[in-house]
């Protein structure tokens, strides 16, 4: 755990000033106008700012509840529609990854570049770090000595602890809300109420709130409206489907998570949060079980041996003892599907694993000695453009193509990457006779008219009228 370094006052002031001028939500991981809130319970402390490509591993470790003493205690989590069963808590990695992005733009410390030192990011309302923990973190909580279920200092200083505290909050939100579907913590869709409650379980985030347009398309996807046109949980759902990019790289692989049937949320009179039916299709995240792979629809997955790994990802689809994440044992078999045999198998003390068996080492075996510890790389930022996720790499289209309606001239729409003549705004030609008035014919301007000289409508109208009148007069004379 990092602690406050005894920097000189001048250095501290310089660091704060630097932090103030860096944009919190910019495209750089270094961004940080980050920390302007010092009237909170815990003063910001210095720590190494993880880079974007480190965040998924940190989040995965926390989501699997695999952080040992590096986090607060996590309660068990309710399962089943009635919530009667409780199991060890974990949550889907994609969901928590996106939530922490929405909360903090993946900022734990306000550093000038990732990998370097910076002060704890403290957002509005005294929200600390990745998970933007606010409960118990205000100055008034210090005055009142408010007790918390976590260590407030570690929330400010440790990335893992901060994330784990976020998991603790999420589990409490899950346990305190009505069920979605069968209340299966592995199903991303079933976290809808908990995600809503993480921000505030209020009317502000109710999808029926009239501030949110009824025809809103998923947040951050094509045709999106302003973020303020979406409740919090829909911002998370939108980002899960359409990931943001930094330095041309998508931060995660998108997945089209299902929305609940929101008409179930309020009755025809008042509004109480009711249990919601299962939003289909469901999606699970293999990361939650320590496996790699993309978010999938469990209904479409065949798992012949029932070991929790789909046949497609299982090197032994009919052997439940062999699957990714299984313990490697000394038996000459690739138990954990990593294309290596017995590489991490353990044997009784004094024996080694050789040819699938634990045996005593040969007498003349040289002493391998203890492996050297890797150098502490804290404070060493990775080289720019260092390795990171490569999937979903966004590429810019060539000028001849389009990704957006506005890339095309008037009268055209962008369809599958190419500008095609607009098939939509046809004149009203459905043959229906509207009582009380004729249908109006709406015409698109001819394409390519952008090169026309601008002309005021009044003059254009007048010139048209003159031409019509002269034509009318001439035709009458001819008649």
């Amino acid at each position: 755990m990092k602690t406050v370094k005894p920097f000189a006052v001048k250095s501290l002031a310089t660091a704060l000033a630097t932090a103030l001028f860096v944009n919190l939500f910019g495209t750089s991981t270094a961004a940080a106008a980050c920390n302007t809130n010092t009237n909170c319970r815990v003063q910001p402390v210095y720590g190494r700012a993880p880079c974007d490509d480190e965040v998924p591993d940190l989040v995965a470790q926390v989501c699997r509840n695999d952080f040992g003493t590096e986090g607060p205690s996590i309660p068990t989590i309710k399962t089943g529609a009635d919530g009667a069963t409780k199991v060890t808590a974990s949550m889907p990695c994609l969901l928590f990854k996106v939530m922490t992005f929405v909360e903090s733009s993946w900022q734990m410390f306000c550093a000038s570049s990732c990998g370097s030192q910076g002060l704890t990011m403290i957002g509005g309302g005294c929200g600390y770090g990745y998970s933007q923990i606010t409960t118990g973190m205000r100055a008034s909580d210090l005055a009142n000595n408010t007790s918390t279920s976590f260590d407030v200092n570690k929330v400010a200083s440790s990335a893992t602890y901060n994330l784990a505290t976020g998991l603790q909050f999420m589990v409490n939100k899950w346990n305190g809300r009505k069920a979605v579907g069968t209340r299966d913590p592995e199903v991303i869709e079933h976290w809808y109420y908990a995600v809503w409650a993480y921000n505030s379980f209020s009317w502000k985030n109710n999808p029926h709130n009239p501030n949110y347009p009824a025809d809103r398309t998923p947040w951050y996807c094509a045709g999106t409206s302003s973020r303020s046109s979406y409740p919090y949980q829909e911002a998370v759902w939108g980002y899960m489907r359409c990931p943001p990019s930094r330095s041309g790289k998508a931060l995660w692989t998108g997945a089209e998570i299902s929305y609940p049937y929101i008409a179930e949320i309020c009755s025809t009179e008042g509004c109480s949060p009711a249990a919601l039916s299962n939003p289909l299709p469901n999606h699970k995240d293999p990361c939650q079980k320590g496996q790699s792979g993309q978010v999938y629809d469990p209904a479409k997955v065949v798992d012949s041996d029932g070991d929790g790994t789909a046949d497609a990802d299982d090197c032994a689809p009919n052997d439940a003892a062999i699957h990714p994440g299984a313990d490697d044992i000394c038996d000459g078999v690739d138990n954990d599907c990593d294309n290596a045999i017995d590489e991490s198998a353990t044997c009784p003390e004094g024996e080694i694993c050789q040819s699938g068996q634990c045996v005593e080492p040969p007498v003349d075996l040289p002493d391998a000695g203890a492996p050297e510890n890797s150098a502490d790389d804290a404070g060493e930022p990775p080289a720019e453009g260092d390795a990171g996720p490569t999937e979903g790499d966004a590429t810019m289209p060539s000028p001849a193509e389009c990704v957006w309606l506005y890339d095309c001239p008037d009268g055209y729409v962008c369809h599958e990457g190419r500008c095609l003549q607009d098939p939509v705004l046809d004149p009203d030609s459905d043959g229906e006779t509207d009582t009380g008035g004729a249908d109006l014919v709406i015409q698109l301007r001819a394409s390519g008219c952008g090169c026309q000289q601008a002309m005021t409508d009044a003059w254009a109208w007048a010139i048209g009228l003159i031409a019509t009148l002269f034509g009318f007069a001439r035709s009458r004379r001819r008649g």
């Binding site: 501030n211 008409a263 509004c271 506005y406």
Partner: protein, 410 residues
């Protein structure tokens, strides 16, 4: 009449083309522009710092001289750190009206008067079957003076539905119901704002105790309950003209949407009705079923524009005021599915699309309407002149929100 006379009268009748005001921003950028545009020209009137992706909520004053907007620049999960700003369109000058306002669109009462909400405190849900509740105050500012008009306790939320002849119409959601309320508005409050500032002209703030209500989930005195929302807290897209409120809502079985209206009584009528149980109840009226599409009604000089699902797409329809008045006279008589869903007298189809469509605003002359159309995940802002039958696209950035039409900002 000779052609020359016709031409002259036509030139005289020609009105200047209005400007469409809209907010324009690109994803992940920390500024937004307030833009004035016509089909062939546009100009940025103001560039604002914002929280990235968070467009300000803006409303234009009825006179068209001031734009009021709320914006947020500081991340805060409760979004109570917004500021309310008045932007004088002619002078291009901004003035801070209030801070710590809610992330709600303000209600522009006049060029110099505006109303807004502030969440005073929240009470987290105690049980799994309830939402957080809030104490919310409604403030107004006129002539630089700030007044608390009303305060709600233990409600879910409150929204402005619009300004009727007799006052401000509010949509309030409590744990028990969603309903429309009328806050009688002293017109002098608005009109005084137009007079020169004089200390003696300032009104005495209403004592807070007089306007607070301590009853849980109830509405303070001074408000008149008009009617419950027809199908629970699923109403939206409010628009008011004169004494008529129009809005969209899901139908009772939640399978489709419908266009509803409510006639807001005058103050005299409300006073005469009193609280007597024998007084006839006000009821909302279903005007049209709109299928899977929320109607998004807006009022124009000619009538009411709304969208309706039609075939594989949608149609934008206009219903004239005469037929609406006739329908209003039938308030209380349930509309049958047939009469509500089919074409009727005084109704006209303006446009049809395979995508979705929403009328956003119309200019005062009724000559131009702004429409947002979305098709295959792409959205565009359209400038439509129904009388000349033309549709043109306003080129915008990815995120845009139309505000209204103005004139005289050259």
């Amino acid at each position: 009449m000779s052609p020359l006379l016709l031409m002259a009268s036509a030139l005289l009748a020609a009105t200047p083309t209005p400007w469409l005001l809209y907010i324009d921003l690109a994803r992940d950028e920390a500024t937004a522009d307030i833009v004035a545009a016509r089909p062939d020209e546009k100009k940025s009137l103001l560039t604002l710092d914002i929280l990235p992706n968070h467009a300000p909520h803006a409303r234009l004053s009825p006179e068209g001289g001031t734009l009021f907007f709320t914006r947020h620049t500081v991340p805060n999960h409760l979004e109570r750190t917004g500021e309310l700003v008045a932007f004088d369109l002619k002078r291009r000058a901004t003035r801070l009206v209030a801070q710590n306002v809610d992330a709600e669109p303000p209600l522009a009462l006049s060029d110099d008067a505006v109303a807004w909400f502030e969440t005073i405190e929240t009470r987290p849900a105690q049980e799994s079957d309830e939402f957080d509740r809030a104490t919310i105050a409604l403030f107004a500012s006129a002539d630089g003076e700030r007044r608390e008009l009303v305060r709600f306790r233990d409600i879910y939320g409150a929204h402005f539905a619009g300004i009727a002849d007799s006052g401000i119409v509010l949509y309030v959601v409590t744990p028990k119901e969603a309903a429309f309320y009328l806050l009688p508005l002293d017109r002098r409050f608005i009109e005084k704002s137009r007079a020169p500032v004089r200390e003696s002209s300032r009104q005495t703030p209403v004592p807070r105790a007089a306007i607070e209500a301590e009853v849980e989930g109830m509405i303070p005195s001074g408000l008149t309950r008009l009617a419950a929302a027809p199908t629970g807290p699923v109403a939206r897209e409010f628009t008011v003209r004169g004494d008529r409120l129009f809005f969209g809502a899901l139908t009772r079985d939640r399978t489709e949407s419908a266009l509803y209206s409510l006639t807001v009584p005058g103050l005299d009528e409300l006073n005469a009705r009193g609280d007597s149980d024998s007084a006839p109840r006000l009821v909302t009226q279903k005007l049209a079923l709109t299928g899977k599409r929320s109607p998004a009604p807006i009022v124009t000089r000619e009538g009411l524009l709304y969208a309706r699902a039609e075939g594989s797409g949608e149609a934008l329809r206009r219903r004239d005021w005469a037929s609406l008045k006739a329908a209003g006279d039938m308030a209380g008589v349930p509309a049958t599915r047939q009469s509500a869903g089919n074409a009727r007298a005084g109704e006209q189809k303006l446009l049809r699309t395979r995508g979705t469509m929403r009328a956003l605003c119309a200019d005062s002359s009724g000559k131009v309407i702004a429409v947002r159309r979305a098709f295959e995940g792409q959205a565009e802002l359209l400038w439509i002149e129904p009388d000349s039958g033309t549709t043109r696209r306003i080129r915008t950035r990815e995120i845009n929100e139309a505000i209204g039409f103005v004139e005289g900002i050259e």
